[in-house]
């Protein structure tokens, strides 16, 4: 009992800070920023699972994030239009609502698609790729190409997706005014709760036999095959789980931030998240989450001071972490704690 309490103490502390202290202390603008970082943290959690534990370096999580985001944005746009056409379609000269859009008027469908859509894509891609035993850098390049292709697709379909501008001008969600601070606070709490729940579920998974199997696949895929497991299946399932998380994060991101566009899900944002996970510490789930929040804050804070410097700082941080502290911030913290106790 006491051991369980002690084990969960760090999580409980963070949960109290996130759910009670932050909404009370932060002004609405800052709380909104934190909500955005927590959305990224959900994606990062998935990367921690698939890359940190499973060894699959995915450089295309933005694709899944985007699919989730666009699903949600389509629903929001349709409620906005109230039976008519969304504003950007009118501007692009579209006359009838495209068939693809029709079911997204239903919020349940939109939310389910935000999660299942990415998972389905991941299952298809994973089945094709992992069966052929494509791995390592080849897999990374493939996912990055997917992110690039996704952007081209979105930009090219101006009338269907809003093109380069994406979709914005969302005013209400489930009947709540999105401009209200109270709505934004509720949204923040929803994001925090989803992140917390997913973290606990993922941690449970990592500590189960499945988690051991995933590490085994990472460290010796061929050996796992001769234990009677199908590594391709294990990898595909894990990849799909991470894709589902990214999709859900995208769906939450849209009402929080108020925009979704190709620039938010292409190659660069996908890479930024991987860098954040590396900086936080990819071998531990908490490291991935921490990395996303810290890098999010750093990006905002730094960009407020020096507009263009962030990219350089980010690159430098990545190199520093990779060479000096491969286990990331979490690894450094662990080392400091051990040094203090001994």
């Amino acid at each position: 009992m006491i051991r369980m309490l002690r084990r969960n103490l760090p999580f409980a502390t963070v949960a109290v800070i996130a759910l009670v202290a932050a909404p009370l202390l932060l002004e609405p603008f800052r709380l909104g920023l934190l909500a955005k970082y927590l959305c990224y943290a959900i994606v990062a959690l998935g990367i921690g699972l698939v890359w940190g534990k499973g060894g699959m370096l995915t450089l295309g999580q933005g694709v899944f994030f985007g699919l989730g985001g666009y699903s949600m944005a389509m629903y929001l746009k349709l409620t906005e239009a109230g039976g008519g056409l969304p504003d950007f379609m009118v501007w692009s000269g579209v006359e009838h609502l495209p068939a693809l859009w029709v079911p997204f008027a239903n919020p349940v469908f939109a939310l389910v698609m935000a999660v299942l859509g990415p998972m389905l894509i991941a299952v298809i891609l994973g089945t094709l790729v992992f069966r052929q035993r494509v791995r390592g850098a080849y897999f990374a390049i493939l996912t990055q190409a997917l992110a690039a292709a996704m952007v081209i697709l979105l930009v090219g379909q101006q009338g269907l997706t809003g093109g380069t501008n994406g979709m914005t001008n969302f005013f209400e969600l489930f009947g709540q005014d999105l401009a209200e601070d109270s709505t934004q606070r509720l949204l923040y709490l929803a994001v925090a709760v989803v992140l917390g729940a997913l973290y606990l579920a993922t941690r449970q998974l990592v500590n189960s036999r499945y988690g051991r199997l995933l590490v085994a696949v990472r460290d010796g895929e061929d050996r796992v095959r001769f234990l009677g497991y199908d590594p391709a299946l294990v990898k595909t399932v894990t990849f799909a789980l991470s894709a589902g998380m990214a999709g859900l994060a995208g769906a939450l991101f849209v009402p929080v931030v108020g925009i979704i566009s190709p620039a938010l899900l292409g190659v660069v944002p996908s890479l930024e998240l991987v860098v954040a996970v590396a900086v936080g510490g990819r071998h531990v789930l908490a490291g991935a989450v921490l990395g996303a929040v810290v890098m999010g804050y750093a990006k905002t804070a730094f960009s407020e001071q020096f507009a263009d410097g962030w990219l350089y700082l980010q690159g430098a941080l990545f190199i520093l972490v990779m060479t000096l502290a491969p286990k990331g911030v979490i690894g450094v913290m662990g080392r400091l704690r051990r040094a203090r106790t001994t």
């Binding site: 449970q204 189960s208 036999r209 499945y210 051991r212 010796g220 050996r223 095959r225 234990l227 009677g228």
Partner: protein, 249 residues
């Protein structure tokens, strides 16, 4: 139990296996020997699905193994080890064996946390003498202990047929002795095929031996028969007949 007929494997024009016939009845401890390049490991690879034969058949019980995927063959009850042992260093000894033992569970049921230690895992730990090391990470094991862990992982899967590729390579004399005793005990209730180079080890622990040479079965029989065979002395032992299998001073 295991029956290979006219198995041929060709690598870039090189005939690694050139019409091998091999029958291993249930419950036997069979040693597979032969000079380097004789095709011993290739034979194991064919049985376990790693290499696809160009021709021939591999029957295990009533199953045809040719064309099946590696993990499917394992599920039929054929387990193997490799020359270079691969254990999962980040996991503990117990977790390694437990993972091996859980291979028949459906994937979703693996998501639950492990509670306690199953009978098969206990037994594998006991037989390989690794109980004391159960909670240690596999990364800290010595070379010999790793091999035993691999054998333990196999045993936990309760296979019908075990294929061990040079299990005593690189081991100390003491470790060899222990491994030999372990093999003999395993052979009591399993069918085992061992690929081995070590003559001393062979003489001590082998009963039936198959000699491979240039991708063919040269001779098959007891250690005495095989080591007395002039063809074996010639191809396997070269001119140094004094070093022959049975009659070292």
């Amino acid at each position: 139990m295991l029956e290979l007929r006219d198995v041929q494997v060709v690598f870039d024009g090189f005939r690694a296996l050139d019409g091998v016939d091999l029958t291993v009845p249930e419950g036997e401890l069979r040693f597979l020997i032969g000079p380097n390049g004789a095709g011993k490991t290739t034979l194991i690879d064919v049985i376990t699905g790693l290499t696809r034969p160009a021709a021939g058949s591999v029957r295990f019980g009533e199953h045809d193994l040719v064309g099946r995927k590696e993990h499917q063959i394992v599920r039929l009850g054929v387990g193997r080890t490799f020359q270079t042992s691969v254990v999962f260093e980040e996991l503990t000894v117990l977790e390694n064996i437990d993972l091996a033992a859980s291979f028949r569970r459906p994937l979703w049921s693996l998501a639950r946390r492990r509670r306690g230690v199953s009978e098969a895992v206990e037994e594998a730990l006991a037989r390989t003498g690794l109980e004391e090391l159960a909670e240690r990470s596999a990364g800290v094991l010595s070379h010999g202990q790793r091999q035993w862990l691999e054998i333990g992982m196999l045993l936990a899967q309760r296979p019908k047929l075990l294929l061990l590729d040079e299990p005593v390579a690189g081991m100390s004399g003491d470790e060899r002795q222990r491994t030999g005793e372990l093999l003999t005990r395993i052979a009591d209730d399993h069918t085992v095929i061992v690929v081995e180079h070590d003559m001393e080890f062979l003489r001590r622990h082998a009963s039936t031996v198959t000699v491979l040479h240039e991708g063919r079965v040269l001779v098959e029989g007891s250690v005495e028969q095989v080591s007395a065979d002039p063809r074996v002395q010639e191809v396997y032992l070269g001119r140094k007949a004094s070093d022959a299998v049975g009659n070292r001073p």
